[in-house]
């Protein structure tokens, strides 16, 4: 489970009281169901209130729960006939990224996802979900294969970032990420990306250049982790909570900024409380996306994706306090005002 989150403490205390009361009733054979109903009602209200008004930092806490469903938890709930494919054919197999072929409602797809561990042992094996270049190159190999066989691609983003290590740098971490952005932009099959937990920096984007970006309600996605942002901006990683607010990293922030297409609501308290029900909600969203993208020709699929990224950015060309000295002036039809 990991450490208890501060904001959930009152809920857990109340849950404890209810359990105690139930035990007491069972042991003593006294009917206190009125009292019990009252407490359960209070719990329901408290949960609704607490989980209905979570701060960005509280969501980060939920996104990091050790028992939060991972890529490999969702795959059997969403797909049939999954066959994992290993290796980048260049150096090795990175278990921080899993990928393979499967069927989604009978339709052949390629599935790729970042994979963290669900306990310490598995986390060590999976490098805490932080890929090396070979992970990104495996993902690219599978995406190119999908392109060849006209299979849609579904990716699951869940990483604290690409691994910052010596070997990763030596083998070209930058190039591996850059290459994926470059090649993904040009794929002619639909790419749907789902942020299921954490989405930090280029390590997330490297499997995230999609036609549609979906995001679970309590996941986060940004240029850097809140801790990293705080350390860089204010030289104090302890201000991560403030950074989580300022950096606008939650699903609803990203929806407002126009970066993501759909926000998938989570089951009360977070996906970990009912992975099966959560998978059903992801399934619904994916079906809708597949139907929308299924209408497009391969060229339209590519053009839609290119247009999506082409438009991202917030800038102004009509600055008044300076004279434009440039001889060449570019068409400004695509400027956002």
């Amino acid at each position: 489970m990991g450490p208890e989150l501060e904001f959930e403490k009152p809920i857990h205390e109340l849950q404890g009281k209810i359990a105690e009361l139930k035990q007491f009733m069972d042991e003593k054979g006294i009917d206190l169901s009125d009292e019990l109903n009252h407490l359960q009602e209070r719990l329901a209200n408290l949960e609704k209130e607490t989980y209905g008004s979570m701060t960005p930092w509280e969501r980060v806490g939920v996104a990091r729960k050790l028992n939060r469903p991972t890529t490999l938890d969702y795959i059997p709930l969403l797909f049939t006939d999954f066959l994992e494919c290993h290796g980048d054919r260049l150096y090795g197999d990175d278990s921080a990224i899993v990928g393979g072929i499967a069927k989604f409602h009978g339709c052949p797809v390629t599935v790729i996802g970042e994979q963290r561990g669900r306990d310490t042992k598995e986390n060590i094996m999976r490098n805490f979900g932080s890929p090396h270049p070979e992970g990104y190159r495996k993902a690219l190999r599978l995406m190119k294969q999908a392109d060849k066989f006209h299979r849609p691609i579904i990716t699951f983003i869940d990483t604290k970032g690409a691994f910052p290590g010596q070997a990763a740098e030596e083998r070209g971490q930058s190039e591996a990420i850059a290459r994926n952005l470059y090649e993904m932009s040009w794929l002619s099959v639909p790419v749907i990306c789902v942020v299921i937990g954490e989405g930090a920096s280029g390590g997330a984007l490297a499997i995230g250049v999609g036609n549609q970006i979906l995001m679970l309600e309590n996941s986060w996605y940004s240029v850097i982790s809140p801790e990293g942002a705080a350390a860089l901006l204010w030289k104090d990683a302890g201000q991560a909570e403030k950074a989580a607010e300022t950096m606008k990293i939650t699903g609803s922030d990203l929806k407002k900024l126009g970066i993501i297409d759909k926000l998938i609501p989570e089951v009360l308290g977070g996906a970990h409380n009912d992975p099966k029900k959560q998978a059903e909600r992801i399934d619904q969203a994916l079906v809708a996306s597949m139907e929308q993208l299924g209408q497009l020709s391969p060229d339209q699929v590519r053009q839609q994706r290119l247009a999506k990224y082409r438009e991202i950015g917030d800038y102004d060309t009509a600055q008044t306090n300076q004279t434009d000295l440039s001889v060449f002036s570019y068409s400004s039809s695509s400027d956002k005002q």
């Binding site: 910052p164 010596q166 280029g202 990293i249 970066i259 060449f328």
Partner: protein, 289 residues
């Protein structure tokens, strides 16, 4: 005995006001590597490369443009494009304003076109003096427009990277500029466009992990710091000290990430060589022989 050491301080010579005026700031610069002092005039003649140890001083975008292009052959694009502070990040506009004054640039990249050894090219030059050369919406948009222009005109693209990575204050929008610029270069490449990437000090983070690494030719200046993650973070992660040459241009060359490391003085010649091979070296040229 104590007096013996402290006494001297009392008589330390303080240069007179007149003497200080004799050496105004900006006339000489001390090499950060070999500590040799050189006249700025002399340094400029040698393209800001230390003649004693070969250290390449980081240079601004305008200085770079001046030494790169054939005389009077270049124009600037999108000079006035500015950021709109999409996250309403506190103090961000103020910081941009102060860097504008410092660098005379409106953003961390100069884009334009001009002739290099007679060949017309579209060029981006990043300036680390502006927000550490970080990439936000404006840097992404200016580079994308420049690449699109090159595609339409059928001319090569050259990008000089100098960046600490993505711009923190624009959050996820900065991250997405990595995808935007990479996608623009992919489209350009699919149409047969030539792209030469030149990594200068420093080329790290989101810039290293997007357009800087995607050249048909990846070149770098000697001694440039190039990498994805910061040295301190890697040392903390692996719990060990890294070799001194880690993440230098020479280190990347050794690990197969670069075509060549090119000293600044030779760059124009090498670019001319690549450009001439791409304009003349086609199958048709062979047929004519």
């Amino acid at each position: 005995m104590k007096d013996f050491f402290t006494k001297k301080k009392k008589y330390a010579t303080v240069p007179s006001a007149k003497a200080r005026q004799d050496v105004p700031e900006g006339i000489v610069r001390k090499c950060p590597k070999c500590k040799k002092i050189m006249y700025v005039k002399e340094l400029k003649k040698h393209l800001f490369v230390c003649q004693s140890c070969g250290y390449h001083y980081p240079i601004g975008a305008y200085e770079r443009a001046e030494m790169l292009f054939d005389a009077d052959s270049y124009v600037e694009f999108d000079k006035n494009m500015v950021s709109l502070n999409p996250l309403q990040f506190p103090n961000y506009m103020h910081k941009l304003e102060s860097d504008r004054k410092k660098t005379k640039l409106n953003e961390a990249v100069w884009t334009g076109k001009g002739r290099i050894e007679g060949c017309e090219c579209a060029v981006a030059i990043m300036d680390k003096g502006f927000r550490m050369g970080s990439m936000g919406s404006v840097v992404g948009e200016k580079i994308t427009r420049m690449v699109e222009y090159a595609g339409k005109q059928g001319i090569p693209v050259i990008i000089f990277s100098a960046s600490g990575g993505a711009r923190m204050q624009e959050g996820v929008l900065s991250l997405m500029q990595m995808a935007k610029t990479s996608a623009a270069l992919k489209g350009f490449s699919e149409n047969g466009g030539l792209y030469i990437s030149i990594m200068t000090h420093p080329t790290t983070g989101g810039v290293s992990a997007s357009f800087a690494s995607l050249g048909d030719y990846n070149l770098a200046e000697p001694g440039a710091l190039i990498g994805f993650a910061g040295r301190r973070i890697i040392e903390q992660t692996i719990g060990a000290e890294l070799p001194p040459d880690f993440q230098t241009a020479e280190f990347l060359l050794k690990h197969g990430q670069l075509d060549q490391v090119i000293p600044r003085a030779e760059l124009r010649t090498v670019l001319g060589q690549i450009l001439s091979i791409h304009t003349e070296g086609s199958a048709e040229a062979w047929d004519r022989n």
